[in-house]
């Protein structure tokens, strides 16, 4: 019944095929790679249970992102918030190392996929992790910790509160429109507003006794949205990576189209400075 050209391994867990020794091995192997994300069989692509042909033309790309990560489709309010957060974080220009590295990659004779991989690879704990870290702080405040005490804890360690302040923007232009959308969603009953309240409490605690406030930045505002939407903190970074990949691709493509070759960080004739051992002789 199951010949050599028949793909095997995606059957339901309740399969009642006779289990000889061969089958034991096969299950061990196909189970090793089993997944709840998709079922791919000849002529069939199920994504979280839905045939892909039903999804095409019916849902937006952001709704697809939600479905793939969460297993169910979002409500309209949820979908709208997710679209907004993804739209907001796509780019921060060539000063950002992720963007600069991707632009340089595009001049080195690699595919655009490698340029995107280069940029995504740089969105590490420091460059891409603030949203995830902010979600963890929001969870603490939602869980009952006092915002002022949390802020004091960071100050005692001389650490930044992730999601607040910006080395660049005195006021992040993305904060207000994102928070306005969260407020709307709360008013419609689409989300609960607990992460919003936690974020605003942290912002107020940070402003206390300061002449120059430390307003929420893009990481803080999107962290509020992702937390309101029920994403775990680690997916906060994951979603940021999807969003920023758009800017990375746009910049890599612009650079590739421009035709530069082996673009370094400095225009010629400038050279990197040298602060090392003066020239010396191996025989001395």
């Amino acid at each position: 019944m199951s010949g050599p050209d028949t793909p095997r391994g995606t059957g339901p867990a309740t399969a009642t095929e006779p289990e000889g020794p061969a089958m034991i091995e096969e299950h061990r192997v196909t189970d090793w790679w089993s997944t709840a994300v998709s079922r791919i069989r000849p002529g069939e692509i199920l994504l979280r249970g839905y045939p892909v042909e039903q999804l095409i033309g019916r849902i937006t790309f952001a709704e697809q992102i939600w479905l793939m990560l969460r297993g169910e489709l979002p409500s309209p309010v949820q979908g709208r918030l997710l679209e907004a957060a993804l739209v907001a974080a796509v780019d921060h220009g060539p000063q950002a190392p992720s963007i600069a590295a991707a632009r340089m990659a595009a001049t080195c004779g690699v595919g655009l996929n490698s340029a995107v991989a280069t940029g995504a690879g740089l969105l590490g704990d420091v460059h891409g992790g603030a949203g995830q870290q902010c979600m963890e702080v929001l969870e603490r405040v939602i869980g009952g910790e006092d915002a002022t005490a949390v802020v004091a804890g960071f100050r005692d360690r001389r650490a930044y509160v992730p999601g607040f302040g910006h080395r660049f923007h005195p006021r992040d232009p993305r904060r207000d429109p994102l928070l306005a959308l969260v407020r709307e969603a709360v008013a419609e009953g689409g989300v609960q507003g607990r992460a919003l309240a936690a974020g605003l409490a942290l912002e107020a605690a940070l402003a206390e006794g300061r002449t120059r406030p430390v307003p929420m930045n893009i990481d803080g505002a999107t962290a509020i949205i992702y937390a309101e939407l029920g994403f775990p903190a680690e997916l906060g970074r994951g979603l940021f990576v999807l969003s920023r990949s758009v800017g990375i691709l746009a910049h890599a493509w612009e650079e590739q189209e421009g035709g530069a070759r082996i673009k370094g960080p400095l225009p010629r004739p400038l050279l990197a400075g040298y602060r090392g051992t003066p020239a010396r002789d191996l025989d001395e």
Copy 2:
């Protein structure tokens, strides 16, 4: 006027600041990294000229992708086709090396951004380039070459026509719904239909004299859409990378949540086979 803390370099090309020697250097340096994608200044983020705060809540993520890559917003028909193509290509399961590698990465103690970078890095000419290559073939047919002759050329070289046939699906379930959307868009006058005609001509030429046809696959169907939408072929791969990154992230996250550590391709106790030099002694 322009003090040490004032960012410089994003001024309009028509700036009339006095150009002393210092300014010459500065322009040389900031021009080296200049871009038409975005302008980032304190308190300002322009994306293709639009303030980001105007875009948030107003456009979808797919429309943002279009804006960033093309410089203008899509029409509703264009936006719809782009959403559909991005939705269609998100995943092809753990058999795909890009997905498997990202899942393994997620068990090695790296951030989710590195897992996405790993997967995107594998979408090279062979694994991720068929759409781009198909767009190049479509352009030849649109440009006047005969589809039958083009197909014959590939057959003479014993090469696959990119975008047609599948080593896995006898009929790709994504083909029909994607082509139906293109037909609708043509009927509405939103796109011209020349890439669709070229793709169908190639498909027909491939079926000639065959009992088992070689139907268009996902790469072919999305290549038609991206070509109808006026994207250059290289961005065909770029868009595929954005789409597939969603599946890569969903799989990496599933694996990370599962808690496996240092997951290899084979379940224990299976070991990779050995077909090398038999054991030998360095002193013999």
Copy 3:
């Protein structure tokens, strides 16, 4: 004197050029990228102060690695230990995710450099960080902490002591020859032996009260060497990456030469198992 085609920026820190406003800018920019590793000027490549032409043919590759990372050349004893540690860790077969991912990459239409990047990218905290973590533990014992207490601390947290035990090898064949070389080096007065003593104390503490000991593995043995040689813990991982890149390249090349295309983790007709939502209809 300094015309438009003359590279600038690598002059000695004691340069006495007149500093007009242009120069301020230039120094700010070239200093941003300044380094003590190398000075590259037209016709000149200084590596840690030595002209590269003097190094070629005079030092081994491992000695070059030492020079580049440490700034001075190693003594013969130091060089020998470094060679041995680098030789020992090159490969652990296709069961290792770093190797498997690189082999898959090599079938996807990317350059061998991308295959190496894929493998190196997977040597994260869990897959590539044990040596670095072991060095940190060794430093604690060298600094005076009691090995038994340190081991007890790990046991209390139900954590593995990094560098000891192996999920695969009952006794790591690389342990004894590496430790023998360290003992020789101590006898020759080339290294002090404090990390060796710390490692052996940890191993003894781990064996106490156990019928099956938990012997030192490759990460432990190389951690001892790198610590004896005075490398900071983070470079323990860095050196492991250089060593394992050799195996990654050998495997990627074998796979590329074999001509496979889009190699997934499972041979056909096996398919990844599915444990997700059963097939469902979007309209229901």
Copy 4:
């Protein structure tokens, strides 16, 4: 005999175990990942047939690289040439995009392994492929093509001959010492000298009728060595990646030790220039 905890799959190809259906499956799976590079079994690590414990302390790191890539140990002359080529190419300073990208990565909160992966990823066809391409040209001349005709072919296509000329060095300081070593090796009978002759013929052909010659660069000189040593052209790039990874690591570590965070290409307050659509309003 073969219980559930016994690793399986690395047995000799001549195994005579009874082959029931289970074994068929198992062989199919373990063969899928089979390799001639190494055999890893509990307590055993064979590299190209040699037990790793015999190699430790007996061979240099460069000899290990040869063994892993070629399957046999090099002769002393071969080993010496390989050491020299690997020593020569480790670094070209922060102007190189691979180095700059790795330095930026090291400030983004990723492990040193990711920084190395970032740099290696940029050594694509343009930034890392000249040696490989030069080896292909050398092979044509070794195979009988006339060097002058080959050079003319490149000139007709207005293309550079890979391995010759440098946008930076009027004369590459690495050329002479590398060629001197090849000449010595030829004199000793260790290599044949055909690639050397081919390279010199190309250099002479390039100089004909020019006031300013186009001397061989590092890619050309190492290509000659790798070709003399019998490496296939693709491994020319692979070996370059191993060599340059040393500089990438040294620079990434210097940057990480310096403590910079999210280092972009431009020092503040400089900003990337903007040459895009002037600010506009979404509602106009």
